[in-house]
């Protein structure tokens, strides 16, 4: 086992897989935290920040190998879970800026240089993330549910009514989607008001999610830890208010969705191509 204090300086055939950046590392936590290869993760310190890294063999994690391995679902799942396990453990202990999957540097020096170069941005992110967690809310279309019985009587006689009914049948499918989209927007807006920040991920393909119906909302919300219970309650309330959507809450996640360079503003939504 490598020392958790003195980072090895070997370069060459190992790289440094970055898990995340924190203000201060708990060495006890790190020394018991297996990284990408099973060896404990290590801290790399610079600019008042700590990067948590795994040493990885470039034969498996080098650029060429990554191109090949990312095509392999089993490999992708294994590394995604290994990376997440570390980031999740760090997030439980305090604020962490999670690194994107497969961020590999040649050596500790390069990691430290990155910290120094991005110090201000990382420090601001850590401030923003402290005491907060990410929650996911997915909304699946419920085909049979109708939000409101609005239409019945209208101008014209029986013929016109028939045409309206017929048209309603033909467009029922579109209506389901439209209603679900409207409900998703409403749910997202309501949740965003109770969050520090919010964004919408692209809806998941059903072949991936395994869900019986389409996804209308794939939202992520950065929520104060003290407000998490209230947020979960709000999800319940919104689910009851919008029977045309089946809501699913996940979390807390490490704040993966809120470390982009320009975080989405609360309640300002980028619509997915749904």
């Amino acid at each position: 086992m490598r020392s958790t204090v003195e980072p090895p300086t070997d370069a060459g055939d190992t790289g440094r897989w970055l898990h995340g950046v924190l203000r201060e590392a708990d060495l006890g936590l790190l020394s018991g935290l297996p990284g990408m290869t099973g060896e404990p993760v290590r801290p790399v310190r610079a600019a008042g920040l700590v990067a948590v890294v795994s040493a990885v063999p470039l034969t498996e994690y080098g650029e060429e190998a990554l191109h090949r391995n990312l095509e392999d679902l089993a490999w992708l799942e294994r590394v995604a879970r290994a990376h997440h396990r570390v980031v999740d453990a760090l997030a439980r202990a305090g604020a962490v800026v999670p690194a994107r999957l497969a961020t590999v540097h040649h050596d500790d020096g390069r990691v430290a240089a990155s910290l120094t170069e991005r110090r201000a941005e990382l420090a601001a992110l850590l401030d923003r993330l402290t005491g907060r967690g990410e929650w996911g809310v997915k909304g699946y279309v419920v085909p049979g549910a109708v939000p409101q019985a609005e239409e019945t009587a209208g101008p014209g006689g029986a013929g016109a009514a028939y045409l309206r009914r017929r048209r309603a049948q033909l467009t029922a499918r579109e209506d389901v989607q439209r209603n679900a989209a409207a409900a998703a927007a409403a749910v997202h807006e309501a949740l965003s008001r109770h969050a520090v920040a919010a964004r919408r991920h692209a809806p998941q393909d059903r072949r991936l999610s395994g869900a019986p119906t389409a996804m209308a909302l794939n939202g992520a919300y950065l929520v104060d830890a003290t407000a998490a219970a209230g947020f979960a309650g709000l999800v319940e309330t919104l689910g009851a208010r919008h029977p045309e959507l089946r809501l699913e809450l996940t979390g807390p996640w490490p704040p993966y969705s809120f470390v982009a360079e320009r975080p989405a503003e609360p309640a300002r939504v980028r619509e997915p191509a749904w």
Partner: protein, 94 residues
């Protein structure tokens, strides 16, 4: 309505790690996250590369699930690289 809490980490027992849905995880670790300009893997930020991976994923999972009808979301809708909001992509630097 159903609200299911698939807590990726169970607050009541920090030692009990509950596996999260892979698709939820990939939404986050592939499409988001700070992209440090790693010396080797700048190309991981390349959207095409990520898409290729997800195609492989779909192919693997697709063998087990019926094909998606051309309903909402579209059969070709690939989850994951949330192009409009993947703020970490531009420049490939972080």
């Amino acid at each position: 309505m159903v609200t299911t809490s698939l807590a990726p980490n169970s607050a009541d027992d920090p030692l009990a790690y509950r596996p999260v849905a892979l698709v939820d995880l990939l939404d986050r670790v592939l499409a988001t996250g700070v992209v440090v300009s790693g010396d080797i893997t700048l190309s991981i930020a390349d959207v095409d590369l990520v898409r290729i991976s997800l195609r492989a994923l779909i192919a693997s999972v697709g063998a087990l699930a019926p094909p998606e009808p051309p309903a909402a979301g579209g059969a070709a809708a690939v989850p994951g690289p949330d192009a409009p909001s993947a703020g970490a992509l531009p420049g490939g630097d972080w």
